[in-house]
């Protein structure tokens, strides 16, 4: 098993996209998710790792060995594409056996390994069938089995669940995580779906405009976003962010005159962006909690909770509450001041409260 090390990797395109100065170390056996909006460079980064693109500068090491910068295939890496890229003219068996055929593996050995990886990928259909006869979920399994059959150390997946319907996606998500635990392979998984990212990742890399915004565990990314971008991108419904001013008397932050009872650290800018997640707002009073008063504008039922859209002064605010509230009602919402995030409005970086 081998670590994957990316060092100062850059690759730019004439169109302006690309990735810039990326350094990440992926531990062997880790499930790493690259998350970001479309065009943030996550797929480019994956293609650089796969050897489908080559960096302008920087290097890639797998197991301590530097990968060649020219066009050579990488033996320790397999990849599952967004639309699975199965070979339509080959049977499932031939599809899965293709990497072995290229390596002149003996027939009995091929048969054994194809069956083995088909079973590992949870593929139960007749392998004499063709990809076009399968459903999306089954194709996904075939693609996984094909990636697994030559026992690569690293499996790359590019939005591999994006083309499936929601129900199948969540069941395959579970299965994929289980599959990764069982096989102990390193996974690098690209997605723009933050729910998927939080569910799958051991570690998350949030990307924006070709740069790494934050690297960390899902909990850490969610609880302690290092920038306003990460805060707004991860979490659904997205975090409420307001521009707050320091009250001249107390020095604590106010939004439209509402006191948040938080004091930023000394030397922080006069205006500060204040963020709070919808699920951190509640109607329950408590010791030492901040409170705000809002006017309810609309309510959406999401199954387990109600998503309440309201106005705090002039700014829209969203709260996730366990009970239904009346539209038009004035509502007092409470929050734990420790769950409030502060960001510098000019750089977007996180500021710790005093």
């Amino acid at each position: 098993m081998a670590d994957l090390v990316l060092r100062n990797l850059s690759r730019s395109f004439p169109s302006g996209g690309g990735v810039f100065d990326i350094s990440i170390t992926v531990q062997s056996g880790e499930f790493l998710v690259l998350l970001g909006p479309s065009g943030c460079g996550k797929t480019t980064l994956l293609r650089l790792i796969a050897g489908l693109e080559f960096p302008d500068s920087g290097e890639i090491q797998i197991g301590g060995v530097k990968e060649a910068a020219n066009k050579t295939h990488r033996e320790s890496i397999a990849m599952v594409f967004q639309n699975f890229a199965l070979y339509p003219h080959m049977t499932l068996f031939q599809n899965i056996a293709f990497p072995l055929r290229l390596r002149h593996v003996a027939r009995e050995e091929t048969e054994r390994r194809v069956k083995e990886s088909a079973a590992k990928a949870g593929l139960t259909v007749d392998l004499k069938r063709f990809p076009r006869e399968l459903s999306g979920g089954e194709r996904q399994r075939v693609a996984l089995a094909r990636a697994l059959v030559r026992e690569p150390e690293i499996i790359l997946m590019d939005e591999a669940l994006a083309s499936l319907d929601a129900q199948l996606r969540s069941s395959l998500r579970l299965e994929l995580k289980e599959f990764q635990r069982r096989t102990g392979r390193t996974f690098v998984y690209v997605t723009h779906d933050q729910v998927e990212a939080l569910a799958l990742a051991d570690r998350l890399v949030v990307m924006r405009k070709g740069r790494v915004e934050q690297v960390g565990g899902p909990q850490e990314i969610f609880d302690c976003p290092q920038s306003e971008f990460v805060a707004a991108f991860v979490g659904n419904p997205p975090m409420n962010v307001f521009l707050a001013e320091k009250a001249s008397t107390s020095g604590s932050l106010t939004v439209d005159g509402v006191d948040f009872k938080i004091k930023p650290a000394e030397g922080s800018p006069a205006e500060i962006r204040v963020g709070i997640r919808p699920n951190d707002l509640s109607t329950e009073e408590g010791q030492g909690r901040g409170s705000i008063e809002v006017v309810v504008e609309s309510v959406q039922f999401s199954g387990a909770t109600y998503i309440v859209y309201a106005k705090l002064g002039k700014s829209p605010i969203c709260a996730e509450l366990p009970r239904r509230v009346e539209v038009g009602a004035r509502l007092k919402l409470f929050f734990d001041t420790a769950r409030v995030h502060l960001f510098d409005p000019s750089t977007g970086k996180r500021i710790e409260p005093a």
Binding site: A50, H73, I77, A78, M79, N83, A85, F98, L102, R146
Partner: protein, 279 residues
Amino acid sequence: MNTPARGDRIECVLQAARVALNAFVLIAATLPLYLLAKQSVTPELETFAWPPHWMPHHLTLAHFISVFAVNELRSAVLRSLGVATISAVIATMLGAMLAHAMARSSFAQRVGFSSVSGIRLLPMIAVAIPLGIILASVGIYDTPSGIGLAIVHAALAIPTAALTLYASFVAIPLEIEEAAWIDGASPLRIFLTIDLPLARASIATALILCFILSWDEFGFALLVQQTNRTLPPLLYYYTVFGNVGPASALALLMMIPAVCVVVALGPSLRGALTAGSSR
């Protein structure tokens, strides 16, 4: 506003126009064939009867017998088959490579399209004499095997093959080739085991088109195979010498491969030629 009766009348006129157009196309396409077939079984004297007979009054197989009696015919048929087959295979092979490059690189696409249309715009007769000299200098001018002509025909057919195959290579998702690359296949291996099988319908079409192109190519055949003739020049000599009956018989025989292809592959050929080969 259209009354129902008026709508019906318009429908009626349209229907009549459709029938008339179809009839015209049908007659224009089949009448020459009928005349040819008629001449081939009409005795020599009746051929020139005035006014011409729509139906032959006497039938004869003498023209076919006379055609088969000529020794030159057998070797010309074999030579035409050989030249057409070899040139079709070479043109399709090289055309496929060109088409694949054109489908995958914008540079190759630009160069490919301009050179392909360049070849088509070139007046063929302008290059005929230099070509003859080149063939003579490498010793494959007017050989019994017809290899020189096969090479010329292959060169002529490459644009046809490339254009026929281009659309089907474009239709193959790049991801499939990338998957094969990740799986460890070399570019040549990807071309042979992924691209060619996926484009097989178009490959068959390209082979057939190139075959037919060579089978009835006349100008270069006349020039390059002066004594070791292929079928079209042979037919020409029949006509020149006024043997209308045998010429008609030979012309009919020459149609056999084309007819076979259309009958055997009719639907799939039509599909591949018109559909832009979207899979």
